[in-house]
């Protein structure tokens, strides 16, 4: 009994020192000069632009990665082909690669001296140091989430119901909308939450491709670094608190989805 209490104390103490106190400290710093200063810091034109840009990136990344994630998961679980292991390895790549390396790799394709430079110049599209590059970097780092959530569920439910629907004359689309999608919806939701959290918070890959142009290509995370290094720590803490609130909302969403999933099974 005594040893159980000791273990609990050590574990909770560790979490307090590593996690709770530091995060609490950021909240304290953001609000120590009052609520007014906190809102002032969030409503400067630069901060507003950073928040808007981050939301725009999320609004593009999440739907695209969700659609292609579902398609890829269906390909993995509903088609038989050689090289399945290779495909799975490629899907997991973004989890293994340093975000900085992701950014560099994108610069080497879409940058001034990149592989696609001529085609991009000819069509007048700017990717690196511009919003499309930030979107590509964010899509890269959050690519595996939906696939990794949906594929195991597809495997578990099997394809009998889908085959039954097809035998009864349902088209491919009808089968997907009426049979497959309802079954994978919780997994898709979970994947969407994870993708959103990652897209909101990506820093390294975006830092390389954005060029840190204030008021143009500065996302919320880049703005935090910029303000901190410019000794405007109040703004850095204020945006950090906003990002932390987003993160905690994502956690709440995940907990809620977990509970629903547990109740179903």
């Amino acid at each position: 009994m005594k040893s159980r209490l000791a273990l609990r104390t050590v574990a909770l103490g560790y979490l307090t020192v590593l996690l709770v106190l530091p995060v609490g400290m950021v909240f304290y710093r953001a609000f120590e000069h009052g609520l007014g200063k906190f809102f002032d810091a969030l409503t400067t034109p630069q901060a507003q632009h950073a928040i808007g840009l981050t939301l725009l990136v999320v609004a593009i990344t999440v739907p695209v990665n969700t659609v292609f994630g579902i398609v890829t998961a269906l390909a993995l679980e509903r088609r038989s082909f050689h090289g399945r292991a290779v495909l799975e390895r490629v899907i997991d790549m973004p989890f293994v690669i340093s975000p900085i390396v992701v950014g560099l790799a994108l610069v080497l394709v879409y940058g001034e001296q990149g592989w696609a430079a001529n085609a991009l110049v000819a069509s007048g599209i700017r990717v690196i140091f511009s919003v499309p590059g930030i979107v590509l970097a964010t899509m890269f780092v959050s690519l595996p989430f939906v696939v990794r959530e949906v594929a195991p569920v597809l495997r578990e439910i099997g394809s009998e119901q889908e085959e039954a629907a097809q035998t009864l004359g349902a088209s491919g689309w009808q089968t997907f909308w009426r049979v497959t999608l309802p079954a994978i919806r919780p997994a898709v939701a979970y994947g969407v939450v994870l993708t959103t959290a990652r897209a909101l918070g990506e820093f390294g890959a975006v830092a390389v491709v954005s060029g840190h142009l204030q008021g143009q290509t500065e996302t919320m995370t880049l703005y935090v670094q910029d303000r901190f290094e410019g000794f405007d720590v109040t703004s850095a803490y204020a945006i950090s608190v906003l990002l932390a609130v987003f993160a905690m909302s994502a956690l709440l969403g995940m907990t809620y989805l977990d509970r629903r999933r547990a109740r179903r099974s």
């Binding site: 590593l18 996690l19 790549m93 340093s98 560099l104 390389v208 803490y237 950090s240 956690l251």
Partner: protein, 254 residues
């Protein structure tokens, strides 16, 4: 006609993932194999790589112990607020890495209220990496511990084994694969981490500079080829690690 699911996926993954990686590998030898070698064997690159590997191993070791302990408390102990603590474990995954770095700096940095200042030291890097990798071991050990048959432990105890012996001889062997895979994931993440480290480490060459920061600095000074060469080495290290993990996981699950 069946929808071309496989074709779409392959094109999507090729454009999104394989094309950039191919450009990375190609660019790393822009100045020939000699240039590649020069880039990865410069004293600063080697120092950064050594420190990165060393600190990543330390991070994996810390997590193996603390993660197992936390998982144990979450599964076998009962106390008020346990579900809140359980939800909190995932916070480092949800929190943006730059914010993670800032939180540690706010408390343990130069103007923080903590009695010590770790900013710009090797400890700061270890601290930041342990923060962002916290969930890996906890989340891989927790489900295994839940499934574990308690009768075996009770049998061991009734045969006279003390709690420590029971843990070492009965529980630990069944947890080992989960601990190893969690620690391996933490190690892989630590090898490439950037955001949480960049503010708190001070990025001092030969001291607190990790490989990802070194690569970033090469990019900023216009040396894309050198940056790509070091990236390829870092990537290869991560891939070897991932394959090793998959292999170990398969062997243990048999």
């Amino acid at each position: 006609m069946r929808p071309p699911l496989l074709g779409v996926s392959i094109v999507w993954l090729s454009v999104m993932v394989l094309l950039p990686l191919a450009a990375l590998v190609a660019s790393s030898t822009d100045r020939g194999l000699g240039g590649f070698w020069n880039a990865i064997s410069s004293p600063e690159a080697v120092a950064a790589f050594k420190f990165t590997v060393l600190v990543a191993i330390a991070v994996a070791a810390v997590n193996a112990v603390s993660g197992t302990l936390i998982a144990w408390v979450l599964v076998r102990d009962e106390f008020r607020g346990k579900s809140l603590v359980n939800a909190l474990i995932d916070l480092p995954f949800a929190l943006p890495t730059i914010v993670a770095g800032l939180t540690l700096l706010a408390l343990y940095g130069p103007r923080g209220p903590a009695p010590f200042d770790v900013a710009f030291t090797k400890w700061a890097v270890l601290f930041a990496l342990v923060f962002v990798t916290l969930p890996f071991v906890v989340r891989s050990v927790q489900p295994v511990l839940m499934e574990l048959d308690r009768e075996v432990e009770e049998a061991a105890a009734s045969l006279g084994a003390g709690p420590f012996t029971t843990f070492r001889r009965v529980i630990l062997p069944s947890l080992a694969p989960a601990i190893a895979s969690g620690a391996g994931l933490a190690l892989g993440r630590a090898l490439g981490e950037f955001g949480s480290v960049v503010l708190i480490s001070g990025n001092l060459p030969f001291k607190t500079e990790v490989s990802s920061v070194f690569i970033y600095n090469r990019i900023q000074s216009g040396d894309q080829s050198g940056a790509a060469a070091v990236s390829v080495v870092l990537l290869a290290a991560s891939l070897v690690l991932l394959s090793g993990l998959t292999f170990l996981g398969r062997r243990w699950s048999r």
